[in-house]
Assembly symmetry: C2
Homo-oligomer: 217 residues x 2
DNA sequence: GCAAAAGTGTTGTGATTACACCCATGT
DNA sequence: ACATGGGTGTAATCACAACACTTTTGC
């Protein structure tokens, strides 16, 4: 059934779409390529899957390499889609299992600040074309994020442990690009049961401080 | 960056979850294995991805091999998820890109009838464990199908070109396992805009014949 | 007390369901 | 005529959004 001569094995990679919401805009972590092909272009971070590690494991390893050890553990990480067009990498036939990961902006900013090769770019209205089929991968990740916003607590992965309802609304607006009605949004979020009030308040605010919420259970 | 010695390539396969609704029950196409490992177990049909073909292309080739040429073209085919645990195949490290495909029951029954090695089994309450991680792949496919039922016209892929609203309701009930209210279901389906009345009627029915609908546009 | 943002009450609308009923057809 | 399933009308419920309003805080 299986003959290596007839069915040569392929290179399998993981590409990572690591996103955060910074100052009201959805941003993605990119890496400037120094070698051909696509030298000088921005690309998603990625790497080869090792023979003895699973796909999720490989994705988490790459996440730790880019965002630092501490962030790797509790970040939202989810398989996105697998891209395998024969000509997607001019060097060789590769199949790339794309993952997307979400981090609070503070953690991602800290990780990027300490590295020269990493770059945060806006997801929407980004002018520069990415290397390989990474523009398509990024679009797929953005679509998936938009779709899951309404029926999963995925947005909470983009916020710190405690956050205000306004913070949460900003995250939603950044991802969908749609401005939401404040009272409707508040009640919709509270009704989901995903979050609970802490009893604590914002500090160092110019005006009335808002209540801090946290993820439930 | 890429050293074949350090990053040996992996075997990449496509596994196919080919489903249909037969007599009110969701069924899946399985193949009895004759060789080790898992000899005698039922398994999803699959095959290796060739170096010069894309993933969708490989999935469609396998679909044609199993269901016959004519069906391969217009069947619903969609990438499901990629499974790559290091020990999922005891022979070697393989990464399997799972696809799911949908066919009208008449077409699938015809394809299976002409082949001894193929078998249609119910998806729910199937007692026999499948080979490899195929039980998990099948469960993932069933979940995906349930989820997409409400916001895509995916159920129409399980029906012939013309069908009654009762047929469509049976398909929905078979997939979700939930009995639906007839008038509510009718109107919900018509309001989606996915289907249109043809003006034609069922024939050879014992009682009042129902109107035939077809997919719009 | 004023500005600014947090938070709530009220109403309207659209989607969906449940139930009851009428309609059309073959025997 | 009647049994059977197709198809429709009506009312109740729910989710959600829009808007106006009150409340709370720092200056």
């Amino acid at each position: 059934m299986y003959h290596p001569m007839i069915h040569p094995p392929l290179a399998v990679t993981v590409d990572l779409v690591l996103m955060a919401v910074m100052e009201g805009h959805l941003a993605v972590l990119l890496q400037r390529r120094e070698t051909e092909p696509f030298a000088g272009h921005l690309a998603l971070p990625g790497g080869f899957v090792r023979v003895d590690e699973g796909l999720d494991e490989a994705a988490r390893r790459i996440l730790r390499d880019k965002a630092g050890f501490a962030m790797g553990e509790d970040a939202w990480l989810e398989q996105l889609y697998t891209f395998g067009a024969p000509d997607r990498d001019p060097r060789m036939r590769t199949v790339s299992v794309a993952y997307f990961a979400l981090l609070p902006s503070a953690q991602l900013a800290q990780a990027v600040g300490s590295r020269d090769d990493l770059d945060l770019e806006p997801v929407v209205g980004h002018p520069e074309p990415l290397a390989f089929d990474h523009t398509q991968i990024l679009a797929t990740a953005h679509d998936r994020l938009k779709a899951k916003l309404d029926y999963t607590p995925i947005a909470l992965a983009l916020l710190p442990d405690m956050f205000t309802l306004r913070d949460l609304q900003i995250v939603h607006e950044a991802i969908t690009g749609i401005n939401l009605n404040k009272p409707a949004f508040r009640r919709r979020m509270i009704d989901t049961g995903w979050i609970e009030a802490t009893g604590l308040r914002e500090t160092e605010t110019a005006f009335r401080p808002a209540e801090l919420y946290r993820q439930k259970s």
